[in-house]
């Protein structure tokens, strides 16, 4: 995945269609992240100003949701479901094996590849489940998720 670098002009353009949305803060943050891959710190003030809410409100929403990130997205993101249905068919072991193969720990931040814990992709009859760069993987194995 590649994203353009942060620019306040582009962010302003991204936010302009949202002017009349009721309850816009989360949608605005999601729109910024969709465009740039993350929410740059300057987006907080821009969203506050655009929608006439406090910076604290925007910061509060930004820091509440697991999906929203404040640093650029890694080149590659491997999310592995670690919830119960996937635990039942070895997701704990899968995580350990992927960590070992990539030499990285789960939920650490890296620029090249990140392994993230996820909690359910709704693929629980074909567990373990993973999502690699947005693509759902069923019956996940080390080979499949690091291919």
């Amino acid at each position: 995945m590649s994203f353009p670098s942060w620019s306040i002009e582009e962010a302003t353009r991204v936010l302009s269609p949202l002017k009349n949305v009721q309850g816009p803060v989360l949608i605005a943050l999601q729109a910024v992240q969709e465009r740039f891959g993350y929410v740059h710190e300057d987006a907080v003030g821009l969203i506050a100003e655009t929608f006439n809410v406090s910076r604290a409100d925007v910061h509060g929403v930004l820091t509440y949701y697991h999906d929203l990130r404040t640093a650029p997205a890694p080149a590659r993101c491997i999310q592995i479901c670690v919830a119960e249905a996937c635990q039942a068919v070895g997701s704990r072991e899968l995580v350990a094996a992927v960590e070992k193969k990539l030499g990285k720990k789960i939920d650490e931040t890296h620029a090249d590849v990140e392994i993230k814990a996820a909690y359910c992709f709704g693929n629980c009859a074909l567990s373990p489940a993973a999502m690699v760069d947005g693509e759902l993987v069923g019956r996940a194995t080390v080979e499949k998720v690091t291919a």
Partner: protein
């Protein structure tokens, strides 16, 4: 004449190769100069058979599965276009015991049609309920839903008709219908599949709710982990708008109803209805105290119907076929059907829709075929991360709201997750507390702090530190969390913990792992 081949475009099917299978079937047909039409249907719910390829023949739809990409050319060699014999041949789909034993009502079209074909939707009974509803008064519709006995399928089991009546009776300049599609429970996927396979049913159900109570705007709160469902529902809404099912005049009536999808951002607790409202309003997903009920003061402070996907998707059938037909199914106060989801370490996982009152044994063994690993079944968690763990001697329980509660559990959203004998229930109990600590919105102290203390205490039990005293402490903490939390997150996290302790005491002795 072109032969019709169905190959699912459900995200679970795609996750194990359905797109490759579809591409290869198309390629191979061209290579062999065969005239085929590939229809990408939703999954029929037999995920253990995916990729399930169906061919339309004079005998009906003939199934082949699970088809791997490498099987495609041998299917052609076996003349599967005419139902030819092949090791993957399963016969007429409807006659496969796994399907034939079900009673599909809410899911009646799921997997049968192209999800985005409004024409096919109508030819399979779609829009009958909504067409009827627009000729009825709001109170007649609400009375019908009440008489059907339909209860909330999200987990709480509150009678839908009573909730709707509260919204109908509320006076306001604006009312809303919100669909909770934040299906975060591990082991559940029925909302996702319905939205991906038959999105118009949800749209129709929401439109009927809106017509009934006089709401003109609806929202579907759909989780970000379901990107395919998000795209498909948005496409379906656009098609429904274009066809006049949604918009300023629903099917030419005086009712206006617009629908918007809002996407979650990875917070489990936003599946709690008041946290969902906060999130829909763009705020932190912190739960609200009740009262006021959302039916009185919900989204943006206005009267709001909030129902789960399956609740709303059951409404078209209730209105089309009448309350009596729906209420004729089920047992006691659990009327109609439940869409169960068989998951985890299971041989034949997927969607089982059947009347309430089926036994856990039937779901787990007759339909599910036991564990995937082939090792002995040891634990079954019913109802998601906040549901109880049962042991293998408890398979006789009837799957309905009251029986599960009496057995110390809950139905939740109908997820059934199997574990074989490698599971350690102390670890599962600890995970329940850790998950609560991770996902707590932070409003109630017992949930916010108790969950962390709970995980620590279970770790001490696992390590053999002062086991009897720490077990007592854990039970005491569970009581505080149950009684002192505003919502189900903190209030029900003790359920998996205590049921694990009760039903698997041997895992809480502090000894080394078995």
């Amino acid at each position: 004449m072109s032969t019709i081949i169905y190959i699912p475009n459900d995200s679970a099917a795609i996750s194990i190769g359905a797109d490759q299978v579809a591409a290869l079937v198309a390629q191979e047909a061209v290579k062999r100069s065969l005239d085929v039409t590939i229809v990408r249907n939703g999954t029929r719910g037999a995920l253990w058979l995916e990729t399930l390829v169906e061919v339309v023949t004079p005998q009906g739809r003939i199934a082949y599965g699970p088809v791997q990409p490498e099987d495609v050319s041998s299917l052609f060699d076996a003349d599967f276009l005419h139902g030819g014999a092949h090791p993957l041949a399963l016969g007429v789909t409807d006659q496969i015991a796994w399907f034939a034993g079900q009673d599909r009502v809410t899911y009646k079209r799921v997997g049968l049609i192209d999800p985005l074909s409004l024409k096919e939707y109508e030819s399979h009974g779609g829009l009958v309920g909504l067409r009827k509803a627009i000729t009825q008064s709001g109170s007649d519709i609400v009375a019908e839903v009440t008489a059907s006995g339909l209860r909330g399928r999200g987990g709480a089991g509150f009678p839908a008709g009573i909730k709707w009546k509260t919204v109908l009776d509320a006076q306001a300049d604006q009312k809303y219908v919100c669909c909770n599609a934040d299906e975060g429970d591990s082991g559940t996927f029925a909302d996702r599949i319905l939205i991906e396979a038959d999105p118009f049913t949800l749209i129709e159900g929401m439109a009927i709710a809106a017509v009934a109570v006089g709401a003109t705007q609806g929202f579907v709160y759909l989780r970000s982990e379901y990107p395919t469902a998000i795209r498909r529902l948005r496409d379906a809404i656009a098609i429904a708008e274009g066809a006049g099912v949604l918009g300023t005049s629903v099917l030419g009536s005086k009712h206006a109803f617009n629908l918007e999808v809002r996407v979650g951002a990875g917070s489990y607790v936003c599946g709690e209805e008041t946290a969902m409202l906060e999130s829909l309003e763009g705020k932190r997903g912190v739960i609200r105290s009740k009262p006021p009920l959302p039916a009185i003061a919900g989204l943006f402070g206005k009267p709001t119907i909030i129902n789960n996907v399956l609740t709303l998707a059951s409404v078209p059938a209730v209105i089309a076929d009448g309350a009596a037909a729906y209420a004729a199914r089920g047992t006691g106060r659990s009327l109609g059907t439940q869409v169960f989801q068989l998951a985890g370490n299971i041989a034949r996982g997927g969607i089982i829709e059947t009347a309430f009152g089926v036994t856990l044994e039937t779901l787990v063994n007759t339909f599910g075929g036991g564990t995937l690993s082939g090792k002995p079944l040891r634990a079954i968690q019913i109802g998601g991360p906040l549901g109880a763990y049962f042991n293998s001697s408890q398979l006789g329980v009837s799957m309905d709201y009251e029986s599960l509660a009496a057995a110390g559990g809950m139905l939740g959203h109908g997820g059934v997750v199997l574990f074989d004998d490698s599971v350690d229930l102390a670890q599962q109990a600890k995970f329940a507390m850790e998950f609560c600590a991770l996902e707590s919105c932070g409003k109630c102290t017992p949930c916010r702090l108790g969950s962390t203390r709970g995980a620590e205490t279970i770790e001490k039990i696992i390590s053999g530190v002062d086991v009897p005293a720490n077990k007592l402490l854990l039970l005491d903490l569970c009581e505080v969390m149950t009684d002192g939390s505003l919502c189900a997150m903190g209030g029900l996290t003790p359920l998996p913990v205590k049921s694990a302790m009760n039903n698997f005491p041997e895992d809480f002795t502090g000894g080394a792992k078995k």
